[in-house]
Symmetry: C2
Subunit: 248 residues, 2 copies
DNA sequence: TGGCTTCCTTGATCCATGTCAAAGAATTGA
DNA sequence: TCAATTCTTTGACATGGATCAAGGAAGCCA
């Protein structure tokens, strides 16, 4: 599961790309040293399963690179994604032994793991960690509530536009763009994963993506590569208030 | 807004009905004394608005009695409930000045408030509070994810059955019943509020409630009073796994 | 008592999205 | 280079839930 080569941050937390956003963001040098002695990395290929719902969960982890999803499946196969974990997001819950959701690597994925037991002790003894975890959990709850509005009340077209806007924003936050109004990026997920995210079928996703393309809201090259000629135009299609927050 | 009479718990936290489940659950006697000196109560009538989205939010609070809801409204009036606050649940977020959702009293409501600033200081200095808040926030996130599955993938009939099961469970947790298989309680919300919760229209809610009644899954007297003759039968209608957790 | 007002129910119809089916692109591996 | 596989698109049709419309029931207060 693990690669042979060791990247610089795998020794040294201060080199880590998510150093300032992850659960360890507030840690001081001495606290980082403690984390360094406990952490271990795991890598997953795109499409592979990290954990099945019901599995024992021996670790908690931060996403370092790539994207993971949390999803629930009903007995008859209906499936809903309930979490999208981007770099710096936290996986797992202190005090929980069993995974409540399927965890899947949507792209190639690297996670920084801590054994559950020692991490739980750390939370009690290191307020910098528990405070940061609280903040991140509150952010996730806000995101979940946005998502509930999307699932309960938006049309298929608005759902697609919203998802594209979310991904564009995240991409803009990572890679600074020169142009203010032209965004280009790859969708990091299949049509089926988009459908699972949005509570739609993959056919409806495909049709609505085509419709947004036909109407000039997005430009497509290949199936995954998207250009947004006018971000405000895309925002109009999401159904959200005009002032849905600044772009970064 | 506030009543003239003071109930015993309004002086003495140890008398408080939510003492062992709220954000203060883990506090020791001396910590409770500190909270007692800071807290104040507010009361709202059923149907009244506690806060509008965008309002300044000068306090955080625990729900002591009654039910409050969080909801989002789109520009054209589409509305989705995104939180259901029952007694002991926490309202507000440390570090947030502006309410991001409409907060409504669904029933008569009593909340135990703390001014935001002093509470934020308390969180830093009192690990018993921040740890409990983390735990409660993680629970809310789990509930939000269940709800996302409901919104994204369940049929109207499954949604109604799920909501009734949730309320029945909560009611059973508060009021011990003698019979193992007969539950009776009042729906604490209008058909419209149910629709906002479930991502449906009120007409569909009404029709599906009638259908469940016709099929003998529930018994209705009046519009709000429900009896569940066979809880397992109801659970079959929710679409959830058979082992959706024990009843309390 | 009667007339508002609010909440709820039911019917008729429509339409957005799901379902079923087929075939086109892109990718992988032999 | 050619299957085989996976992902995607598109078409035809079905349907669950929304919409529009009317009226019933319960609570309230004058």
């Amino acid at each position: 599961m693990s690669t042979e080569t060791m990247l610089s941050f795998e020794k040294d937390c201060s080199e880590c790309p998510i150093r300032h956003r992850a659960v360890c963001a507030r840690c001081e040098t001495d606290e980082l040293e403690l984390l360094e002695s406990m952490k271990f990395y795991r890598h997953f290929k795109a499409g592979s399963t990290v954990l099945w719902s019901g599995d024992e969960m021996p670790f908690v982890a931060s996403v370092v690179a790539g994207i993971a999803t949390l999803s629930q499946t009903m007995e008859d196969g209906r499936r809903q994604m309930v979490g999208l974990l981007l770099p710096s997001d936290f996986l797992g819950r202190p005090g929980r032994a069993i995974a409540p959701y399927d965890v899947t690597a949507t792209t190639d994925l690297t996670i920084c793991c801590f054994k559950k037991k020692p991490f739980e002790e750390l939370i009690v003894s290191t307020p910098h960690i528990s405070q940061r975890l609280l903040e991140m959990t509150l952010d996730e709850l806000d995101a979940a509530r946005e998502w509930m509005l999307l699932l309960g009340r938006k049309t298929a077209r608005e759902k697609i536009a919203s998802l594209i806007a979310i991904i564009a924003r995240r991409d803009a936050a990572l890679n600074r763009h020169d142009h203010r109004n032209a965004f280009t990026f790859d969708l990091p997920m299949t049509r089926e994963a988009m459908a699972d995210y949005l509570g739609l079928t993959l056919e409806t996703v495909s049709r609505q993506v085509s419709a947004l393309k036909k109407d000039g809201v997005i430009e497509l090259s290949g199936k995954r590569h998207i250009t947004i000629p006018d971000f405000d135009r895309l925002m109009d299609e999401t159904g959200d208030d005009a002032d849905g927050g600044p772009l970064v």
